[in-house]
């Protein structure tokens, strides 16, 4: 029983990482229709930046954190401004391939600067200290996963509902042509989206370094987050809060109960099978916007 509960909680907490990474993915898709396949690379890049600031340049941890976030925000902005802005209106497939190229570029840069070894960085939040919740102990870092994801989603929800820029982003997400005819500066809005996406990915990456160090494993995590985003429906941020942990739980249940039967690695396939099954039944994902058609 204890095992079950601990798989449940660890799965839940890990699932929130997928939520965190998927936020950026959903934002970009919602506002510009682009499938950002460079999600994993953005995540690692943020982690590497943090590593560079704190381990290589020996800056204090807080400075490293803020520095990485600001640089990633700049990266996001530049990606839209420099790469996607001149290509507004081009076929989506071309833009999708462009994100692949972006991922490759980032990977190349990272190999160049930091090599391909598994690195460790100083811990921001401990992964060994934990608190007791009844019979199970939850480590601090897992609580951080949950807390920061929920915080970010909550802040973004407030941002969309209450601010003018947030409303403008929702308008752009709904209909780009109408947005332009309403006088909204589309490129500004899309740049902000990319900015937030890069920052969210970076935060996920930085948190992850505390658990598994910096490595290219994150790319796999990036793809799993895309699966989460697809199951969630690509339109709703709150949907991610529900689907992320769900996928995490399924994954860890697979590790705990199916792996012994199958001989390992069921958790890698698990999320994708779930994605397949869900899309068969609900093509728009659980929380996606259905096409509103009045008959």
């Amino acid at each position: 029983m204890e095992n079950f509960l601990s798989y449940l909680t660890i799965g839940l907490a890990n699932g929130f990482i997928y939520t965190l990474l998927a936020i950026g993915f959903v934002l970009i898709y919602k506002s510009s229709g682009i499938f950002n396949l460079a999600l994993g690379e953005l995540t690692i890049f943020g982690a590497y930046l943090f590593y560079a600031f704190v381990t290589q340049l020996k800056l204090p941890i807080l400075a490293g954190l803020i520095g990485s976030i600001i640089l990633m925000g700049l990266l996001g902005w530049t990606v839209h401004y420099g790469v996607f802005r001149p290509l507004v209106g081009q076929p989506i497939l071309a833009l999708l391939v462009l994100t692949l190229a972006l991922g490759g570029l980032l990977r190349g840069l990272m190999m160049l600067f930091w090599g391909s070894d598994w690195l460790t960085s100083p811990t921001l939040i401990s992964s060994t200290e934990s608190i007791q919740l009844g019979v199970i102990s939850v480590s601090h870092i897992h609580i951080a996963f949950v807390g920061i994801s929920l915080l970010l989603v909550g802040l973004l929800a407030l941002f969309f509902q209450r601010t003018k820029t947030g409303l403008a982003m929702m308008v752009v997400a709904d209909d780009t042509v109408v947005a332009r005819s309403l006088g909204i500066k589309i490129n500004q809005i899309l740049s902000i989206c990319w900015c937030i996406a890069a920052i969210a990915a970076a935060m996920g990456g930085i948190l992850l370094t505390n658990v598994i160090g910096v490595s290219y494993f994150y790319i796999e995590l990036g793809f799993k987050s895309m699966a989460v985003a697809l199951v969630g429906g690509l339109q709703s941020l709150w949907g991610l809060v529900i689907v992320g942990p769900l996928m995490g739980i399924i994954e860890y249940m697979a590790i705990g109960y199916i792996n012994p039967l199958v001989g390992g690695d069921a958790e890698i396939v698990g999320p994708w099978i779930v994605l397949l099954l869900v899309l068969l039944v609900r093509p728009f994902g659980f929380f996606g916007w259905r096409k509103i058609e009045r008959v």
Binding site: G89, K164, L167, M170, D175, V177, R180, S181, I184, R294
Partner: protein, 261 residues
């Protein structure tokens, strides 16, 4: 105030849709643009408001001037910020947002007191006040049309380009909408360029009218003159030369081709 001189519009670089359209919208007036389907009326509006690039079109010749400044081929965002607002054909609302969010979206352009503007707009359209929290995609056609006009009002435009506001609406609603359009023109002093299929209603509220066919303006004049014009009566109002309904029993056997010039 708004002047088009010999405007030519091409789609995909090969399809010539407007062949030298010239028209003028004086400040504070309501001008209507009539014509059969495919005459180029919507293209004229899109040329003014800068929405042509979305269909791979551009103004290939001629000039469009607004308050002395050239605006042809400018970005749609810039033209809107200059004060020209188009209410697009087919009621393009933001389906997944609520009614209130749709209306607020109109105010994103800035320069107005949000609360006061909302009150004014809701007083024009009390039905929308009841429906504020509803998802806009589920509104009926008439309500959606009110919504897009409300959204346009929030932007305090100097010129409103209305594209077929009566599309698919019941006659009673059409009358209501037209009353509102007239009110907007007279009370808020917004100049309006109205594209309409319903020639009779349009000429009733307009000060001046242009008739388009095949990408050209073929007739223009005061609305009163146009209403009494024989050709308009026969081709757009369906009245034969005697002012009576066309009797299909007396249809001529040969096709009568009308040449405008």
């Amino acid at each position: 105030m708004l002047r088009l001189v010999n405007v030519e519009v091409t789609y995909h670089d090969v399809i010539l849709v407007l062949r030298g359209v010239s028209l003028e919208l004086p400040p504070g007036k309501l001008v209507c643009l009539l014509g059969a389907n495919g005459a180029g009326k919507t293209t004229t509006l899109k040329a003014i408001s800068g929405l042509l690039p979305f269909e791979d079109g551009k103004v290939s010749d001629g000039s469009i001037e607004f308050e002395g400044r050239r605006i042809d081929n400018l970005d749609a965002e810039i033209v809107t910020r200059a004060g020209i607002f188009q209410v697009m054909e087919g009621r393009r609302i933001l389906e997944h947002l609520t009614v209130e969010q749709n209306i607020r979206a109109g105010a994103l352009i800035g320069g107005g007191n949000l609360k006061k503007d909302l009150d004014v707009v809701y007083s024009y359209f009390p039905r929308l006040l009841e429906l504020r929290k509803r998802t806009a995609g589920y509104l009926s056609g008439g309500e959606q049309q009110q919504l897009v006009i409300a959204r346009a009002l929030m932007a305090h435009p100097k010129v409103m380009l209305l594209d077929e506001p009566s599309l698919g609406l019941s006659p009673i609603l059409v009358k209501e909408i037209f009353q509102i359009i007239q009110r907007v023109n007279k009370e808020d002093k917004i100049s309006i360029l109205l594209v309409e299929q319903n020639a009779r209603l349009a000429l009733n509220i307009a000060d001046y009218g242009y008739v388009m066919e095949n990408g050209r303006v073929v007739l223009d004049g005061d609305s009163i003159q146009l209403r009494d014009n024989e050709d308009i009566k026969e081709f757009y109002l369906g009245l034969s030369e005697l002012g009576a309904r066309k009797s299909y029993r007396e249809i001529k056997h040969y096709k009568r081709r009308k040449r405008w010039l």
